[in-house]
Amino acid sequence: MSKYYQPEIETMPYEEMRKLQDERLVAQVKHVWDNVPYYRKKMEEKGVTPDDIKGVDDLHKLPFVTKDDLRECYPYGLLAAPLKDCVRIHSTSGTTGKRVVAFYTQKDIDLWEDCCARAITAVGGTDEDVCQIAYGYGLFTGGSGMHGGSHKAGCLTLPMSSGNTDRQLQFMVDLGATIICCTPSYAAYLAESIEEQGIRDQIKLKAGIFGAEAWSESMRKDIENKLGIKAYDIYGLTEISGPGVSFECEEQTGMHVNEDHFIPEIIDPETHEVLPLGEKGELVFTSISKEAFPLLRYRTKDICVLSREKCSCGRTLIKMAKPMGRSDDMLIIRGVNVFPSQIEEVLIEVGGGDITPNYLIKIDRINNTDTFDLDVEMSEEMFSDDVKSIAKVENAIKDKLRSILGLGVNVHLVNPKTITRSEGKAKRIIDNRNI
């Protein structure tokens, strides 16, 4: 088996790649202009027509798309293919309880799975391997994306989905899984459980592909040592397709972007100016081969650096560094996107007043797992003389957040005016994670 899934693309000389991108971008812009009135309007407002876009050099002329656009267009407003041609929907949590939905035609799924197959092949996955998928299956793209990629890479695929650690470990041992795909925090948890159960010598794992949340080099070392594997990073977002937008190779120094399908740019988040290679800024993606849900210049809000230095793996695909933070207030907790505004809405609803109770989000990483605590200042509306009624308020906050975010949170009711305010504005987030 080759060390590349699609060598002709993955090792394509840059000039050829550029030509391919030019062609695909022109076609993608025309596709969007012809089929998505919302885009056409956006382009008209900026005074751009498809005739102005002759290639990648003209990319900067196109308007940006943000999560706000996706929300405004929910659910069908950005759909560029007839619904009857679509075969799947995936979704990500949105800011206002409204989710972002992405549509896929069969071809979209096919190309996405190619991207995931490239990632699995890059970590050594072949038809000799057993690939355990421990990402969640469902609306989340992690499970099904890597599942499809594993099929295409020829691996025997174990569709475990997330959770049920004992069963994960039993299958890992009994069926001899050699590659594991999950979030880095779950990988760390699995590593600890393997240590506790003393079954390290029964594990055949050689590699892991971990994504959907931020993780550090020290966490990588820790997982690699505990599991005796090589741990690889993978990047993706539902809006653009899912996991496999970029992936790490054996060199483990950044992720190769599948730039035959997604063109990355780095911009200054304030001035929106495109920054040269090597400079830090906001990562922007333009899809160039999508049918159902193309996005032109989608602002990811991830702060990142691109580089086109020669990679020892032989791939010529541009590389992106691990994202170094966000340009908005979104938090990623245990792989879930969390916006403070979602928490505010729940507190207003539960608090019953018009004013948001003052709150403080506290995040930490203990034993490689994110902890999520929420301090809420007590108000007259929430207070009662009996414990049961206050517990009801506490539980309502917990339950609503769990149903919106799918995350467990520890709620602590605190005295009013005890959450520190700076310049009249409360500090809302304390993130003690060292990532």
């Binding site: 009996d386 009711l413 605190v414």
Partner: protein, 144 residues
């Protein structure tokens, strides 16, 4: 007899209860009964004081979340069996207690209990003619 109870929220942190006690002291408010309900993160102080409205204003002023709720005071004999007899009066009248605590009494041979019940008005009416209902208001809202 119906009694206005002041309840206040306190976080489980050193000094929080002191702040409440100090505020009441500064405002010359006398406390006749007090109970503290606690959970892992916070507690609720419940008090019977000489001037509930004034206490609430003062506490709010100092940043404490508090409120007034209607509770019931009953009189029992300060003797073995007195508590049992008092409870029987409640059970006989079908009154269920959410929580209760003791209150000081200056009447010789008598003790007072403060009760939280679902419908204090109704409970008060039921007990008015019994021994348990014989409570002297000046015993509760004592001004010194």
């Amino acid at each position: 007899m119906l009694v206005k109870q002041v309840s206040a929220f306190i976080e489980n942190k050193a000094g929080r209860l002191n702040e409440i006690a100090d505020t009441l002291a500064k405002n010359n408010i006398d406390i006749s009964a007090l109970s503290l309900a606690d959970t892992t993160d916070y507690g609720i102080v419940r008090m019977i004081v000489c001037d509930p409205e004034k206490a609430v204003l003062a506490l709010r002023e100092s940043g404490v979340v508090c409120k007034i709720t209607e509770t019931l005071a009953i009189a029992i004999d300060d003797a073995p069996g007195g508590f049992a007899k008092g409870l029987k009066a409640l059970t006989d009248n079908g009154i269920e207690i959410k929580y209760m605590y003791a209150c000081i009494s200056h009447e010789k041979g008598k003790a007072l209990m403060i009760l939280s019940v679902d419908d204090p008005q109704k409970a008060d009416a039921l007990l008015a003619s019994t021994d348990a209902g014989k409570v002297n208001p000046s015993e509760i809202y004592r001004h010194i």
